[in-house]
């Protein structure tokens, strides 16, 4: 009995729901063809929007993302290369610096040796010139001394001859000369 009454109640509720549904349908103008038209209309709208807007824009956004990612990748690579290049350059510069220092030192040493050599040569040359000059001066002086002695002896002999009034022999002249010279040199 209970089951029958339950089913009867259920049936009555279903009938009420159907009546409400029918009422709603009438009141709100629900219509199969209109509903179908709206569904088709929206699907066409969505399809066209996907074709003309979402598709191309999503593609473009993806492309831009890819370009940005590629750019970032490139940037990283360039930064890495730059760091490596800076490292290599620094090493090259350090090496060049060492080489330059070595060359400068060698040049300095070479220059120093050369300068020393040239100085020694100059000193030797100067000493040579000095010695030559001294020798020449000595020779001149010796020559002048001997000429002076000879002239002096001649003058003394001549003077002696005039004072004494006699003709001096060569031995006399020789002796007078030697005596005079000995006195002068003393």
């Amino acid at each position: 009995m209970e089951l029958i009454s339950f089913l009867a109640e259920t049936g009555s509720v279903t009938a009420e729901l159907a009546a409400v549904g029918e009422n709603l349908k009438k009141q709100f103008g629900l219509h199969g063809q209109l509903l179908f038209s709206q569904v088709i209309g929206f699907l066409v709208f969505a399809f066209l929007l996907k074709k003309f807007a979402f598709g191309p824009i999503q593609q473009m956004l993806d492309q831009r993302k890819m370009r940005i990612a590629e750019g970032e990748e490139k940037l990283k690579r360039i930064e890495k290369q730059l760091a490596e290049s800076e490292k290599t350059t620094a090493a090259a510069i350090a090496k060049a610096n060492d080489e330059a220092v070595r060359l400068i030192n060698e040049a300095k040493e070479g220059a120093h040796a050369f300068s020393e050599q040239k100085a020694q040569e100059a000193i030797a040359q100067a000493q040579n010139i000095l010695a030559k000059a001294e020798a020449a001066a000595k020779a001149d002086r010796d020559r002048l001394t001997s000429e002076l002695k000879r002239e002096f002896g001649r003058l003394v002999a001549a003077t002696t001859a005039q004072v004494t009034g006699k003709v001096l022999t060569s031995d006399d002249q020789q002796r007078i000369n030697e005596e005079t010279l000995a006195k002068v040199e003393a």
């Binding site: 569904v39 969505a46 929007l49 473009m60």
Partner: protein, 310 residues
Amino acid sequence: MQASLKTPRPSETEQPKMRILPTTLALWLIGALPALHAAGDGPPKLPFNAPIVVDLGFFKITNSMVAMWIIAAIVILVAQLATRRISLVPTGLQNLFETIVEGLQGFLATIMGEKLARETFWFFGSIFIFIISANWMGLFPGIGTVGHYMVDAAGNKGEFIPWLRGANADLNTTLGLALVFFGMWIYWSVKANGPGGFLSHIFIYHGEGKGFIKAMLVAIFFLVGFLEVVSIMIRPLTLTFRLYGNIYAGESLLELMLYMGGKWLGWLAALPFYFLELMVGAIQALVFTLLTAVFTSLMCTHEEEGEHSH
């Protein structure tokens, strides 16, 4: 009266705001005053159903359908203009569309994960753009107010039939949108879980536990599954009536305000409600999109994917 006289005065800093509010209210009430003389005609009543403007027998066209086609045509045209000469460096309309697409997709990705948001974007993007465009288009002057009167055989003026009506102020449209979502929801859910997984997701307990407690949980989850089925079946209806109700109520309110404002000041009476309806239009589009996205996400996003997506 004494008490009202003793009401403390607002502070000096609050005065400018307080002055603006009464002025606005006064202006608005002035706009509403002519309703007194117009009250004799009775307020207009927006019909619940969208009137048929073209009847070819087998194919009927309502004014909301016409509005929908116009919205669709405008949106598609603008979209095509935006993407006609699409370039890596965006300008003008392309910028606008890219902002909308990127913003929406990002928003959906926070709900349903990057992958699912991308796969289903054609639907959620279209739904959002369609609803917001339709809601805002309903606010344009002439929609619901420009039309013709039905004339009977005797030449008597009958019901006024507007040529256009807000597309979402028609239950056929909102039910159509909800049914499309429902169909797609079933498709996405079965695709993501398989037919068995789909049913298992609803009826089977997947948590941990042992012995009696587990048996209890399995039984409870199985019974709750039936409630879940009812909830799932009700979803299209709630989506349908929420959107329809809000938009219909908004349009009715605007019509009433225009009527209350009278012939010359109706615009002033309705003005604040236009701003309200702009907001309601956007919120309803967002709510519909958000709810449908959440329903999809609940069924299609697995925990690990969800975590990744956040």
